[in-house]
Structure formats: structure tokens, C-alpha cells
């Protein structure tokens, strides 16, 4: 858990890197999301002050783009590809399975902070559809069985670490 001072400091570094340029707001938000796995309120306030952009504009950008999350996200981010090719190959069935097993809907995080579920529009690996990306790992030709195995594996890894 990062505290407010750390958030402010890191955000200031990021903004300095982009020379406090107003146009770089999206890139600044991307770097903040990269650093904290979401966009903390304190970071947005710092950005507003340092870059001299009204808070309402910062918040507009933060809520417009779906790459950004205003809530802390889980450790393992499960992205289900909802591209057309994956859809005709049954991606909806996989989404059902993840939702039922993890108990969350896209945009939500499990209470234990392990998993976040998201949908993404076409990652460009259509030959392998249906595709699920977990953090940076791509899983292709995913079936219900594979979904169960993936969740089990991650839970086991987490269990082993504790």
C-alpha cells in the first residue's frame, strides 16, 4: 500500500519527465497507471496542479479511456479478447466461466485482490482465438477446461507464496 507522499512524489517525477506539457496528459496518466496499477486520486490532483490543467479535464480524460482504472486492480489482470474472430469462436462462453468462477464481472476485482476481470477489443492474435491475456501472457485456443486450469494454477501459485 503506497502512501500519499509516495504517490505525490512518484507523480511529480512522471510529470517532470514529460516536461509538465499539457498535451502529455494521456501519457502521464498511462505512466501513473503503470506505476500504481490504477490512478490514485492524489496522483490526479498532483497532475492537475503541476500541469495547470483543471481537475475536471484530468478527470474527463481519466474516465473517458477504458485503459485507465480509478479503482485499485488485482494482481492478476485477466483480459478476455472480445474481438469478432474470438467472438465467433466462442469467447462469450469463456467470459461466463470466468465470471461464474471468480464471482466478478468485467471491471471488477475479487475481494482478495487476486484477480481483476476485463474485456479487451482484439489483441491481434486472431489465429489463436479465443484468446485470454493474463498480465502479459497470451493464452490461445482457450476452452472451458483451460479456464479452470488457469484459475487453479494461479490460485496454487498464490497459495504456495503465502
Amino acid at each position: 500500500m503506497t502512501n500519499v507522499t509516495e504517490i505525490k512524489q512518484k507523480t511529480k517525477q512522471i510529470i517532470k519527465k514529460h516536461k509538465s506539457n499539457k498535451s502529455a496528459l494521456i501519457a502521464v496518466l498511462q505512466d501513473i497507471q503503470e506505476a500504481f496499477n490504477y490512478l490514485p486520486k492524489e496522483a490526479l490532483k498532483t497532475a492537475s496542479n503541476m500541469m495547470k490543467v483543471p481537475m475536471s479535464r484530468v478527470y474527463e480524460a481519466a474516465t473517458f479511456y477504458t485503459a485507465f482504472s480509478l479503482k485499485p486492480r488485482g494482481k492478476h489482470i485477466v483480459k478476455i479478447c472480445k474481438g469478432t474472430a474470438c467472438h465467433v469462436r466462442g469467447a462469450a462462453i469463456l467470459q461466463d466461466r470466468f465470471e461464474t468462477t471468480l464471482g466478478i464481472k468485467p471491471g471488477e476485482t475479487t475481494k482478495d485482490g487476486k484477480f481483476s476481470l476485463e474485456t479487451v477489443n482484439c489483441v491481434g492474435a486472431c489465429a489463436l482465438g479465443p484468446v485470454v491475456v493474463i498480465n502479459t501472457d497470451y493464452h490461445g485456443q482457450v476452452t472451458i477446461n483451460k479456464v479452470d486450469k488457469i484459475i487453479k494454477k494461479i490460485n496454487n501459485e498464490e497459495g504456495a507464496q503465502q
Binding site: N21, K22, S23, A24, L25, I26, A27, L29, Q30, V53, R57, E60, A61, F64, Y65, T66, A67, F68, K82, G83, T84, A85, C86, H87, V88, R89, G90, I93, D96, R97, T100, T101, V120, N121, C122, V123, G124, A125, C126, A127, L128, G129, V131, T136, Y138, H139, G140, T143, I144, N145, D148
Partner: protein, 615 residues
């Protein structure tokens, strides 16, 4: 410092030992995103280790960008003979090295087998997938390690730029591109040279040159493969364009979902700068130009030009309502050229080989080639590059290898969420910008989603509307409110709540939304619905009047049942059912409780006896 750029460019080439001569042995392995997901990097490492182990240090391993035949990845091509191996695993590597690389011997289990004749074909150019293609742009991927500028020099990279800077005026460049007939490859099909001319003549400084890499159409990944696999072709095109219009600052807008493309573009830009090809005084002339990369943040609408500009300017990606062209007032209200990544990649070719050569490919109204992504219910999923005018039939059957599992073709969706579907009876239309409009679709960025009899066209329309509903920026009423109302009606139809008159309401709404929307997202949103109604009206009627989904897809309108004769009572389905809807004794035929069954499909996927049927 003011040396002739032509000389400078030649010096660059002379300074390297030729990378890959015609007799050179090397092994190419596709390391595009798709093949990486199948483990190609592990195969690459195994190849490097094995070559070292067998003391073949003069043989290189070339990790290339996407080679197009994605269905067969990981794929390995052994040069100089160009033997093509598919589905290569780490375990295959020792044999590949000791037999094929060392002695030129073919390993038959790794070779492509024609599905009908069973003939083995082991050279890349013999495979039916590649045979009818004309890979003037995309084919370069096979010769490149995208992270090495030397590889690009080796295939005459930046020769076009040198020619432009030493022999041509900006007007010469525009005229050449005009003569070639290059039309935008991003979906609009607007003549590139006319755009460039507009910016050249416009008042306002600075002028900007932008590459649209926000390839948002689901199922289309051509631009990704170009940016990943041949970033310099895009960069070189942009520099030439910037010279032609008088711009010193460029941007490449890349989708957030393409991290490898961003990495390779970043490496390429830096290498170009170090070699005097970007930055101040390019190749010793007084022309300066540099490029900045902007990443998208998950908004399909940012593929629209004014929304893209808003995003670069640091704002929410809402399109501009004002009636002003980007060539007059684009980014920061300055004259701007915005062209698609593939459009830019065509430019060096036109300069190198000439407009006449380029214009000899394609049709009267659509010159050159187009890269398409062929995905969905198709045997050979991948990226193809064909001359404009190739028919859909050739694409789907000759190159695509037809429909898998013995199923029947039903429709192909072209142009993504802005396009429409094309039924079987229209498969012999030649693919070009104008012909596709005539049948109610469009080329779009080049995505082709193939569907078979197990795809429900109403569900497809519902899917696209759902997508557009999520991606609408929300500024104007027809799109924001209209699409979600259309989406609700489609949802009703797919859930058995469709009403008489719904089709007519959708048609009327569609026309008004197309006319009233602020930008092309809303403007073309009704296309998938209207084209599926046009060609598959009977499917809509079955859903509405009979509460029946002929394709067996819409969950509320189908039931699952177990064929007692095929069921062996193995119980595998019972374990995967999330609602405990399946019961039965061991080794006896099981039954599904239709009230508990949610039609999630888990049981069908796990049954090894094909005993579960959809009704």
C-alpha cells in the same frame, strides 16, 4: 554537411557487410505477437542453442515479424532454399538443424500437406495460401529482423528517401503518388496525394504528418504486423510525406493493446536518428523532421481523425463537430496529413519502383494491393496481401482453404463495425473500394471475418452494436442514445422478446442515425444491422415470429439435450456443469435438466462423444 543525400545513403549501405546474400544460410522464425503466443520465442532460443551446439556458427537465426500464415505458427523457414515448416515445437529443433540446415533434407512431418490432394509442399511460394498473393509490402517482413535497421538497408531501405531528397521536389513526390493512384488504406479510401496537396497549399505553421496506428476494428491486425515487423517502412513513408507537404513534426498513434509495436517503433526511430535519417538535416540536407509516438488508451473512436487529434492534444477523444477539414485545421488546428500505417508503408515502394509499376497492379479505381486479415471460421487464418480486384471467392477458398469441419460458408463481414456482411451469392465480386460499397459493405481497414452455418447473423449484428455502444464517445444524441436503443432491440430479439415491427423500426432508426451522427462511428453504426437484415431477413423473422435461432446460437432460444445413443455415461460433463444441471448413473445415458441449464457450452466442449446436441 551538405553532401548529396544519395551519396550519403549509399555510404550507409557500403558501411555494412551485406546482411544476407542470396546464398547465405539462415533460419527465419516468426516472432510476431501471434506466434509468440504459441511459444515461438522458445523455439528461437532452442534454434540458437542448437546451432551453437552443432558448431554452425555462421548460420544466423532471424526473428522476423508476422509472416502472415498465422494458423500454422510457430513457423520456421530455412534459407536459402526457403523450406517452410509449420507448428514447430522445441523438440523438433535438433532435427531441423542437423537435417535441413546442415544437409538440406526435408522433415516430412513438419511440412505443409494440401488438405485435398495430400501433396506435400515444402517451399513457401508453393503453398496455396501464398500462391495468389502479391506481397509487395508485407513480404518484406520475411527478410527483416525489425529491431535492426541494417536489415532494412539490406532490402534497399531508405533508398526511396535518398532519391526523394536528391532528385525530387515536393511537387514531384506528390505527382508521383498521384499518378500511382494510392488511396488511403485505413477505410476512407481517399486519394493520398490529394490530401498531401491540400496540406502543402494550406496556410498555417507548423504542419503535421501523422500515422494512424489505432487499428480498432476487432479481427483486423494488419497494421500491428506492419508496425511490429517492418517499422522502417512506415517511418520512411512518413519522412517522404513530410518532405512533400512541408512538415517537420510527425506522430505515430499506436493502440495501447500493441506493446510490441510500440517497442519496435521506438527502437526503429532511435536507429533512424542515429543514422541521420530523422532529426535535423536529414541525410545532410536542410530538411528536418522527427516523429513522436503517442499511445492510445482504449478508445476505438480515437481512430477517427479529429478524435485522434484530441487524444494527442491531451484531451478526451471526442470528435470535432465543426465542419473543417484536417488538411486545413487538424492537430492543434494546423494543416495535418493523417494517413493509415499501411498507406505510409506503400510510399517507399511507389518512389523506388515508380508510379507506373504501382498503377499496373489492381483495378481501375483501386490501385496497388491491400493487406487483409482473414479470420473466424476459416481454415487458413492469417494475413494476406492481394492485388485489388481479387475476388472474395479466391480469398476465402484458394488462399483461406475454405471452411473447417466440413461446414458451409454463410457470410463474410468486411469493414469491421462500420461494414456489412456479404452472403455466398456475392462471393465473386472483386474486392476493391467501390465494389464493396455497392453491396452495402466497405473495405474498412481490411478485416474479413468468415462465418459458417453455426453463426447467427442476428447475434453478429447484436455483437457489433454492443461493441459500438461501448465505444461511442457519447457526444451526440443519435449515436449515444440511438445505438443503445438499437442494441436493446437486438438484445430483445436474441432473447425471444422481439416484437412485430422491430425490423422496420431498426431500418428507420438506422437511416436517421446514419444521417444525424456527428462522426463516422455513429454514421456507419447501422451498417451491420442493415446489411444482415438485407441478406438474412428470414433469420430475424425466425427469431421474432417463431422464437427460434436457426443457427443454434442465441441462448434463450435453444435447448441442450443429450443423445442417449451416443452418451456413454462417462460423467465428464457433470463435473464441468456450473449449475449441476446434468444427472445420470455411471455408464448410463445422462440427462440435462432444461430449467437449470444455462447453455454455457461447457458440456459440449468437454464431451468426447459428440453426444450433446443443440436444438
Amino acid at each position: 554537411m551538405n553532401e548529396n543525400p544519395d551519396i550519403q545513403a549509399h555510404q550507409l549501405l557500403d558501411n555494412l557487410s551485406l546482411y544476407y546474400g542470396p546464398k547465405k544460410k539462415f533460419v527465419a522464425i516468426c516472432a510476431g505477437t501471434g506466434c509468440r503466443a504459441s511459444g515461438s520465442l522458445k523455439v528461437k532460443e532452442a534454434l540458437e542453442a542448437e546451432l551453437k551446439k552443432q558448431n554452425m556458427n555462421e548460420v544466423d537465426v532471424l526473428a522476423t515479424g508476422c509472416l502472415g500464415f498465422c494458423e500454422k505458427g510457430p513457423m520456421v523457414i530455412v534459407h536459402p532454399d526457403k523450406y517452410f515448416y509449420q507448428h514447430v515445437k522445441v523438440e523438433d529443433v535438433p532435427e531441423i538443424v542437423s537435417k535441413t540446415v546442415a544437409k538440406g533434407e526435408i522433415i516430412s512431418r513438419l511440412v505443409y500437406r494440401h488438405p485435398e490432394t495430400q501433396k506435400t509442399l515444402y517451399r513457401e511460394e508453393d503453398l496455396p495460401f501464398y500462391k495468389k498473393q502479391n506481397r509487395i509490402v508485407f513480404g518484406q517482413n520475411g527478410m527483416l529482423d525489425p529491431s535492426k535497421i541494417e536489415a532494412y538497408f539490406n532490402i534497399d531501405g531508405y533508398q526511396a528517401l535518398a532519391k526523394v531528397l536528391s532528385e525530387m521536389t515536393p511537387e514531384d513526390v506528390i505527382n508521383e503518388v498521384k499518378k500511382a493512384g494510392l488511396r488511403g488504406r485505413g477505410g476512407g479510401g481517399f486519394p493520398a496525394a490529394v490530401k498531401w496537396e491540400g496540406v502543402r497549399r494550406a496556410h498555417g505553421e507548423p504542419k503535421y504528418v501523422i500515422a494512424n496506428g489505432d487499428e480498432g476494428d476487432p479481427g483486423a491486425y494488419m497494421d500491428r504486423s506492419l508496425m511490429e515487423g517492418n517499422p522502417h517502412s512506415v517511418i520512411e513513408g512518413m519522412i517522404i510525406g513530410a518532405y512533400a507537404v512541408g512538415s517537420n513534426q510527425g506522430y505515430i498513434y499506436v493502440r495501447n493493446e500493441y506493446p510490441l509495436a510500440v517497442t519496435h517503433l521506438t527502437i526503429a526511430l532511435e536507429a533512424a536518428r542515429q543514422n541521420g535519417l530523422l532529426g535535423k538535416n536529414i541525410l545532410g540536407t536542410n530538411f528536418s523532421f522527427d516523429i513522436h509516438i503517442n499511445k492510445g488508451a482504449g478508445a476505438f473512436v480515437c481512430g477517427e481523425s479529429s478524435a485522434l487529434f484530441a487524444s494527442i492534444e491531451g484531451r478526451a477523444g471526442e470528435p470535432r463537430a465543426k465542419y473543417v477539414h484536417a488538411v486545413e485545421k487538424g492537430l492543434y488546428d494546423k494543416p495535418t496529413v493523417l494517413n493509415n500505417v499501411e498507406t505510409w508503408a506503400n510510399v517507399p515502394l511507389i518512389i523506388n519502383k515508380g508510379a507506373d509499376w504501382y498503377a499496373s497492379i489492381g483495378t481501375e479505381g483501386s490501385k496497388g494491393t491491400k493487406i487483409f486479415s482473414l479470420v473466424g471460421k476459416i481454415n487458413n487464418t492469417g494475413l494476406i496481401e492481394v492485388p485489388m480486384g481479387t475476388t472474395l471467392y479466391e480469398i476465402i477458398y484458394d488462399m483461406g482453404g475454405g471452411i473447417p469441419n466440413g461446414r458451409k460458408f454463410k457470410a463474410v463481414q468486411t469493414g469491421g463495425p462500420s461494414g456489412g456482411c456479404i452472403p455466398e451469392r456475392l462471393l465473386d465480386i472483386p474486392v476493391d473500394f467501390d465494389k464493396l460499397y455497392e453491396v452495402g459493405s466497405m473495405m474498412g481497414s481490411g478485416g474479413m471475418i468468415v462465418m459458417d452455418e453455426t453463426s447467427c447473423m442476428v447475434d453478429v449484428a447484436r455483437y457489433f452494436l454492443e461493441f459500438l455502444k461501448e465505444e461511442s464517445c457519447g457526444k451526440c444524441v443519435p449515436c449515444r442514445e440511438g445505438i443503445r436503443r438499437m442494441s436493446d432491440i437486438l438484445e430483445d430479439i436474441c432473447s425471444g422478446r422481439g416484437r412485430e415491427g422491430d425490423i422496420e423500426i431498426l431500418e428507420s432508426m438506422g437511416a436517421a442515425i446514419a444521417d444525424g451522427s456527428l462522426c463516422a462511428l455513429g454514421g456507419s453504426a447501422p451498417n451491420p444491422v442493415l446489411s444482415t437484415i438485407r441478406y438474412f431477413r428470414e433469420e430475424y423473422e425466425a427469431h421474432i415470429k417463431e422464437h427460434r435461432c436457426p443457427a443454434g446460437v442465441c441462448k434463450a432460444l435453444i435447448t441442450y439435450g443429450i443423445d442417449a445413443e451416443k452418451c456413454t455415461g462417462c460423467g465428464v460433463c457433470v463435473k464441468v456443469c456450473a449449475t449441476q444441471a446434468i444427472t445420470g448413473e455411471k455408464k448410463k445415458a445422462h440427462v440435462i435438466d432444461k430449467d437449470k441449464c444455462t447453455r454455457c457450452g461447457a458440456c459440449i466442449q468437454s464431451c468426447k462423444f459428440d453426444a450433446i446436441k443443440v436444438k
